[in-house]
């Protein structure tokens, strides 16, 4: 690899690609070449850097300058000023919300500096298509060490000692899972990577696959050595074409280098990996459904036991971990289990990647040590709530999780504490909602998702979630009645207790937790036919503020129901009987004269 005096890393994660980072990169390269800097400055495409709402983003090394919202037109200035003359282009720097100062280096931004990046250690920092860059950053050293210096027992011991737990949702201790599989009777054994990330808003697995695919390959090979397997599968959803492409490139490169295949590093260890592209059903993230899908069957969960560790893929002992879990393995081997176990809390070791989304200033991916408080994550790293609005709750764990209201914001984020609040860590989705969000509507949103993604195999999930959704639809449109809350509670309890798989059992969680913390909102919808957050349209009354109305007539023409009347230049009126609450008049009014009560 050539040495350059400067590296410009251009984020080419899926988020930035959609905001056209490819053109930015090309423009930068053109300008660098034009200035004759081609031998001094290297432009590198990396995986996701995290702050996706700011894309396209780039970092310039060695200075560590972070640029955001780049356009191809900015390239000339960056090249001629920064890359040639060393002058930072201030107008392209990021200014965090609430801060008066721009930050030159990314290190000066809380978003970056408060993170501890283990799973994401390379993501956004290396060219994911270059195995050399991965190797340069200690890639495959852990595999080398494992193969040359460690017995499988020692590897199992190390993973157990690290305290690593599954990052996909349930938090099962990874070392124990490996050990059970290692001990199970049956051959061949399989190593599977669950890359069927499906929680709405969660995309850490995609980012790792796109940004650092080799780490997953290396970790799977390490597991292969530990459990006595020579075959791995990565099950990745078809909606992640870039991840598939980068994985394919990575696998081919690794094979070329002899890191995958036969007799790896001359140690006699064989291991190879195949990609299986799934049709992207949410339920295929459930491990038994995923294994069924790999085998070509309909992706549906089956009862456990037997667990995959005993009877997994093709009935053989199988380790199945998700992408983020795999990404933690090589650093644990290299730095030692104690290093990892020293991070985090007593029962939740290490770090966790979260996808910040919703009503929060800095959306994107962050990796933080377990035990950090929700307040720190949301208000310091996430930069708080935009528009001066009030924080209302944060939903963790996606559709299997629950919401956490303000009074619990100081709770440390770890598996047990979140469970204590009635939610789960899940795969790390964190959706922040503010005062304008109706919690009944939020529960409805997740239930809609679950209902749409239910595989339809067991009756409680297939029919029960449908009936719950129907009740929620009724409540949010003013049709709720006495006994509806009790029915929701009964159905929640029943489904939780009796659904076949983990996804079904957790499907009622969003309803259970919103009922726990925001029961009064449900009651207001049902009893008073009011939505306290002012979000459920059907429960709003549209009227015209006569002081603001200019009588322009826009609303009269917009109203399909003929509910608005009035003479020109005189304040108009809405007939409540005719109004269908479509909201068009409010959207059209230029004077904010249409209000909802």
């Amino acid at each position: 690899m050539e040495m350059y005096r400067s590296h410009v890393l251009v984020c080419a994660g899926t988020g930035c690609i959609s905001s056209d980072c490819k053109s930015v990169r090309a423009a930068l390269q053109d300008n660098v070449d034009r200035l004759g800097l081609g031998k001094e400055v290297k432009i590198v495409e990396t995986g996701c850097m995290g702050p996706c709402d700011l894309g396209p983003v780039a970092m310039v090394f060695p200075d560590g300058v972070f640029y955001r919202s780049l356009k191809p037109g900015d390239a000339a200035e960056i090249a001629s000023q920064h890359l040639l003359k060393g002058k930072v282009v201030y107008r392209l720097l990021h200014r965090p919300a609430g801060s008066s100062e721009q930050s030159t280096g990314f290190e000066g931004l809380d978003f970056f500096s408060r993170q501890t990046r283990i799973a994401l250690r390379n993501t956004g920092l290396i060219n994911p298509e270059s195995v050399e860059e991965y190797i340069a950053r200690d890639g495959y050293r852990a595999l080398g060490r494992v193969l040359s210096q460690m017995t499988s027992q020692q590897v199992l011991g190390a993973i157990k000692e690290s305290g690593l737990r599954g990052r996909g949702g349930a938090g099962f201790p990874t070392g124990v899972k490996w050990e059970l599989t290692a001990r199970a009777q049956g051959y061949p054994k399989y190593v599977v990577c669950n890359a069927d990330e499906g929680d709405p808003g969660a995309f850490m697995d995609r980012s790792i696959l796109e940004g650092d695919p080799h780490t997953v390959l290396e970790a799977m090979a390490i597991c292969g050595h530990a459990i006595g397997s020579s075959k791995g599968y990565i099950y990745v959803r078809a909606e992640y074409p870039l991840a598939v492409e980068r994985l394919e490139t990575a696998i081919n490169k690794a094979r070329e280098y002899g890191i995958l295949g036969e007799n790896i590093f001359g140690t006699g260890f064989n291991f190879d990996i195949e990609i299986r592209v799934g049709a992207g059903a949410f339920v295929c993230g459930e491990e038994t459904a995923l294994l069924a899908s790999i085998q070509g069957a309909r992706g549906e969960p089956r009862p456990r036991p037997p667990f995959p560790a005993q009877e997994g893929l093709r009935g053989k002992p199988t380790v199945i971990n998700n992408v983020e879990t795999w990404a933690c393995i090589p650093p644990i081997i290299l730095n030692g289990p104690r290093w990892f176990a020293a991070i985090g809390t007593e029962k939740s070791k290490g770090t966790k990647v979260f996808a910040l989304a919703g009503k929060i200033n800095n959306t994107g991916l962050v990796e933080i040590p377990m035990g950090m408080s929700l307040r720190e994550i949301i208000f310091e790293i996430g930069g708080g709530i935009p528009g001066g609005k009030k924080f209302k709750a944060v939903q963790t764990g996606g559709p299997s999780g629950g919401c956490i209201p303000e009074e619990h914001l100081d709770t440390p984020v770890d598996y047990e504490s979140l469970a204590g609040l009635g939610t789960i860590m899940g795969s790390g989705g964190m959706i922040v909602v503010d005062q304008d969000t109706c919690m009944v509507d939020l529960a409805k949103y997740f239930l809609e998702f679950v209902q749409e993604e239910s595989c339809g195999k067991c009756s409680p999930c297939r029919i029960g979630t449908k009936r719950m959704l129907e009740i929620l639809e009724r409540i949010t449109t003013g049709g709720g009645g006495a006994g509806d809350i009790e029915k929701l509670e009964e159905l929640s309890r029943g489904i939780k207790n009796s659904a076949l798989c983990g996804l079904g059992q957790t499907a009622p969680n969003p309803v259970i937790s919103t009922l726990r913390y925001f029961r009064d909102e449900y009651e207001a919808h049902i009893r008073d036919k009011k939505c306290p957050a002012g979000s459920c349209r059907a429960l709003l009354t549209y009227c015209i503020d006569v002081r603001s109305c200019q009588g322009c007539g826009l609303c009269v023409r917009a109203c399909q129901a003929g509910a608005v009347t009035g003479r020109k230049k005189k304040p108009h009126l809405i007939d409540f009987e005719k109004c269908v609450k479509c909201g068009t008049c409010k959207d059209r009014c230029k004077f904010n004269a249409i209000i909802t009560i």
């Binding site: 089956r302 009862p303 339809g456 067991c458 129907e470 009796s498 059992q505």
Partner: protein
């Protein structure tokens, strides 16, 4: 493996290792309600009715799939268990038409029984119902997804027992429906119409096409001369519809009942079974002597025929060209019988009572119209006949026994055993032995081809000539044997029956048809055989007369025209 000891409801129970909690509980007399469970065929735990509490488990467990483990503590009757079972059943009912009063399975419906047993006393949940509507495209089977509880027993039977795979879950979530791939109409798929799905359906989501109306209409038509033929296997099962023990031989009562219904003649398919032996036996001998296509495979079972046409078209030359006994009967009824009695075939209406749903398809095959009219007008299942008898107010159990009409009511023990797996083979051997060797068979019973084993093989010594035979039933078993034939295994003669157990286990038989009822019906068939005065087809005097008066000899020109047929190649899907 040594047995395990677990505690269920405070009782210490010794259970087989590898068995389930459901089985262990049953052993101790604790009945856990089930819906989707079908022993050995469908153990998938999807209905969530058989839930129990297992100490240490986070949620309730489905007893039908939870392995009994040493030291396990199970409770089957706690408030949480009862509530969850009831709630899940209420949910299933919330997506089920409340049409019990007018439903084909009313009083025999497992869902209905469960609702009663679990004390469902109201419809607390209601909402949208499944968007799928009934499929009337198949001549044999009607699917009604509205009544489907998605237990998947039908899928398991079709996939595992029959290996046809005509139906599977389509779509997802609330819209999940059991249907052919791409929700194609069933009639346009490779469904072989065996009806095993209808046998295992707990509700009326898959039923035979009800043709009783056509039969009532014919009976009421003074211009119609209505004949009925009864398949061998129906005489050991029709009694079940009236609460009699499975396997009881009720031939005489069946004849009496059919006369009460108003049929002009009550005949027996056993007669044409005997005729089949004459034709097929001759075909076998000819193929052996002339070096024809061997093994010869029987062709009585219409599900099996359609299966070959779809999945093994290259094996079609192995099929006997004989029509099935049902179709031989129809062809003769509208030619020989019509002529002999001076009745126009246009005025003859042939009804058959069959243990089979595929017979409806077979009766409708285009080529089956020798007289210019359908050989068989309507093929009823045993279940449909049961309904007609009930509607007519016939107290079946109290009927005095009556005899079939001549000449098509005269038959032998060899004809009766057609109803059981191995029966056609045994009947053929009884005849072939005597025809080939010219000597009298001393022991008529070929035990090696009897019983419920999926594949039965034997080598029979015919006066120095060894005859390699195989008997298979259930299409999954048939696949095994066909693949062996393709690999070069040398058989001379194979009996293939689509349904497990042969016709006694046919898809048109009364529900339940499980292993136990199959065994009892088998025993009934063989006892009927033993009680027949003539037990060899070639000794049937009516058959002999038929050849003499009308057909000439086996495989003759008339036989060829009326009693033999040909097959077509069908697509795999």
């Amino acid at each position: 493996m040594s047995p395990v000891i677990l505690t269920i409801d405070g009782l210490k129970i010794e259970a087989e290792a590898g068995g389930t909690v459901l089985e262990a509980a049953a052993k101790a007399g604790i009945k856990i309600p089930t819906l989707c469970y079908l022993k050995e065929i469908n153990e998938i735990g999807v209905c969530r009715i058989c839930l129990v509490e297992v100490e240490g488990a986070r949620s309730l467990q489905a007893a039908c799939v939870t392995p009994a483990a040493e030291g396990m503590v199970v409770r089957t009757n706690t408030p949480a268990v009862r509530q969850a079972r009831k709630l899940n059943l209420e949910l299933i009912l919330s997506n089920h038409p409340r049409e019990c009063l007018i439903c084909a399975r009313s009083t025999g419906c497992e869902l209905q029984r469960l609702a009663s047993e679990l004390g469902i006393d109201g419809f607390r949940f209601s909402g949208e119902m499944t968007p799928h509507s009934p499929d009337f495209s198949s001549p044999s089977l009607i699917r009604d997804p509205r009544k489907c509880v998605l237990c998947r027993r039908c899928v398991a039977v079709c996939e595992k027992v029959q290996q046809v795979g005509a139906i599977a879950p389509q779509e997802r979530g609330f819209n999940t429906v059991i249907a052919p791939a791409f929700s194609d109409p069933l009639g346009q798929t490779s469904c072989v119409n065996c009806g095993q799905c209808a046998l295992v359906c707990p509700t009326a989501a898959i039923c035979e096409r009800d043709q009783t109306g056509e039969v009532w209409a014919a009976l009421a038509d003074p211009g119609k001369h209505v004949l009925v033929q009864t398949a061998p296997a129906t005489r050991v099962s029709i009694g079940e519809v009236f609460g009699l023990e499975p396997g009881g031989v009720v031939t005489g009562k069946l004849v009496a009942a059919l006369r009460r219904l108003g049929f002009d003649r009550v005949f027996d398919t056993d007669f044409t079974a005997d005729l089949t032996i004459m034709e097929e036996g001759s075909e076998l001998i000819r193929r052996i002597q002339d070096g024809g296509c061997l093994p010869l495979i029987t062709s009585c079972s219409p599900g099996w025929i359609k299966f070959v046409e779809h999945f093994y078209p290259e094996m079609l030359p192995h099929l006997s060209t004989c029509k099935s006994p049902q179709q031989m009967f129809g062809a003769l009824a509208k030619t020989y019988y019509a002529e002999k009695n001076g009745i126009s075939p246009a005025d003859i209406f042939v009804v058959s009572v069959m243990p089979c749903t595929a017979k409806k398809f077979e009766a409708g095959r285009e080529e089956m119209n020798n007289s210019g009219y359908r050989d068989v007008d309507v093929a009823l299942t045993t279940r449909e006949l049961g309904k007609m008898l009930k509607e007519a107010g016939i107290d079946f159990g109290a009927l005095d026994e009556e005899e079939f009409d001549a000449p098509f009511g005269i038959s032998t023990g060899a004809g009766v055993i057609f109803g059981a797996t191995g029966g056609v083979m045994e009947a053929a051997l009884r005849t072939a032995y005597e025809l080939i060797t010219g000597s009298t068979l001393l022991s008529l019973e070929f035990q090696e081809v009897r019983g419920l084993d999926g594949v039965k093989e034997a080598t029979v010594n015919l006066d120095g000539t060894p005859l390699n035979v195989a008997v298979v039933h259930g299409l999954a078993n048939i696949r095994r044997i066909l693949d062996k034939v393709k690999e070069g295994s040398r058989y001379h003669f194979i009996e293939a029956m689509c349904c497990p157990g042969g016709c006694i286990g046919g898809g048109g038989q009364p529900v339940p048809t499980d292993r136990e009822t199959r065994e009892k019906r088998l025993a009934g068939i063989y006892s009927a055989d033993r009680n027949m005065s003539i037990r060899k087809s070639h000794e049937n005097p009516a058959v002999q007369a038929l050849y003499k008066e009308f057909l000439g000899g086996p495989l003759g020109r008339k036989s060829h025209e009326l009693l033999h047929t040909s097959y077509i190649v069908r697509a795999k899907h």
